[in-house]
Symmetry: C2
Subunit: 186 residues, 2 copies
C-alpha cells in the first residue's frame, strides 16, 4: 500500500479510485540536506508530507538566535500554517536536516480537494486538531515545566529525534544553550 | 440575524433551513461569575461559544500556581480541545470571570453535524486552523519575546481584555507576578 494511503487510512477509509484521485493532487520532490523548502518572507503555498528524511521549521530573533518551532520526520506534515492558511509572508524558515523525500500539495489543490471531497476535509480537520493539541501541550510545558522536565518530555515523546538530530538543534528547540543541554543530559 | 449565524457566515453561507438545522444541535446555558464549565479530571464533552461574558481556561502547576492558557469573550469558542477531541480527562479548568451566557454543542452532536454537513466540517476546520495559528504565535512569543514585549502584544491584540479582566489574571496569562505586571505597566 502507498505510504500516504496508509497514513490517510489511519483516519478515513478510501477506495482505490478515491486514493488515486487524492494522490493526483500531490507532487513529489527530493531535497538535499541544508536545502530550504520555505524561506522567511516567502508565502507558504505548499504543505509537505515527509516520505523520508528530517526537517525543521525555525525562526530567528532580533539577535539572530535560532528558535525551533517544529521538527518533521517520516509521516509528519510540515509547512508554516499561518502563512499557508492566510497566504501571507512567513516569519519562519523550513530546511532539511537530512536528505529528504517529500510529497507536497499546493494551497490551490488542497482547497480543491477538500471542497470536492468531504472525507479529505475531515482528514485534514482531524490532523489540524491534533496539531493544535501538540501546540497547546507545548505552551503548557513552556509555562509550567523546567528546562530539565521539557528535555525529558521531548526525549520520551520523540526518542528517535535524539539519534537523528544534532545536539545544537535540540538545544534550539528547548531554548537553551548547548552547554545547558550537556548538563541536562548528565 | 442570530449572532451565531452571523459568526458562522463570516466563513460559510447558510440558508435559513440550514441554520435552523445547525442551531438545533446547540443548547443554551447561563453561568454565574466563578462557576465552572469544566473541572480538572472531567471529560470535556461540550464546546462552548460565548454569547455574552468572559471565561478563562487554566491549569495549576505542582506548586498550585495558576497558569492561564486562554481567555474567552463574545464570539470565541472555548473548551479543552485535547480532552474534547480525544474524549480523555482534562488537565485544565474553565470558569467564568463574569456572568456568562453560552451556547454549547456536545461532542456527539458536533460529530453528527460535521458528518452530515460538509459546510460545517469546513467551518470548524477553518476555526481550528485559526486556533492553531494563535497557539503557534503564542509559542513563538514565549520563545522569542521578553515579558514586556509579551505584555505589549497582548495589550495590542486584545485591548478589551485589560478593561474586563483583573490584573492578577493578566499576570497569570503572561506567567509573571502581579508586582512584575505593575512594573511593566509603568
Amino acid at each position: 500500500m502507498h505510504p500516504l494511503r496508509q497514513h490517510i487510512e489511519e483516519i478515513i477509509s478510501l477506495s482505490d479510485d478515491e486514493f488515486d484521485f487524492v494522490l493526483s493532487h500531490f507532487e513529489h520532490t527530493k531535497k538535499r540536506k541544508n536545502q530550504y523548502i520555505l524561506q522567511e518572507g516567502e508565502i507558504a503555498n505548499k504543505e509537505y508530507w515527509v516520505l523520508k528524511g528530517c526537517l525543521k521549521s525555525c525562526f530567528f530573533d532580533d539577535n539572530g538566535k535560532e528558535h525551533i518551532l517544529q521538527f518533521g520526520m517520516e509521516n509528519w506534515w510540515i509547512t508554516d500554517y499561518e502563512s499557508f492558511i492566510k497566504q501571507s509572508p512567513t516569519k519562519l524558515s523550513i530546511d532539511c536536516i537530512e536528505d529528504s523525500e517529500l510529497l507536497y500539495i499546493t494551497y490551490e489543490n488542497r482547497e480543491k480537494l477538500t471542497q470536492s471531497m468531504h472525507k479529505m476535509e475531515r482528514f485534514w480537520a482531524k490532523k489540524s486538531k491534533y496539531g493544535r493539541i501538540a501546540l497547546q501541550n507545548r505552551i503548557l510545558s513552556l509555562l509550567k515545566n523546567s528546562t530539565k522536565e521539557r528535555y525529558e518530555l521531548l526525549l520520551k515523546q520523540y526518542p528517535k529525534l535524539f539519534q537523528r538530530v544534532p545536539k545544537k538543534l535540540i538545544a534550539a528547540y528547548l531554548g537553551v544553550s548547548r552547554e545547558t543541554l550537556s548538563r541536562l543530559k548528565s
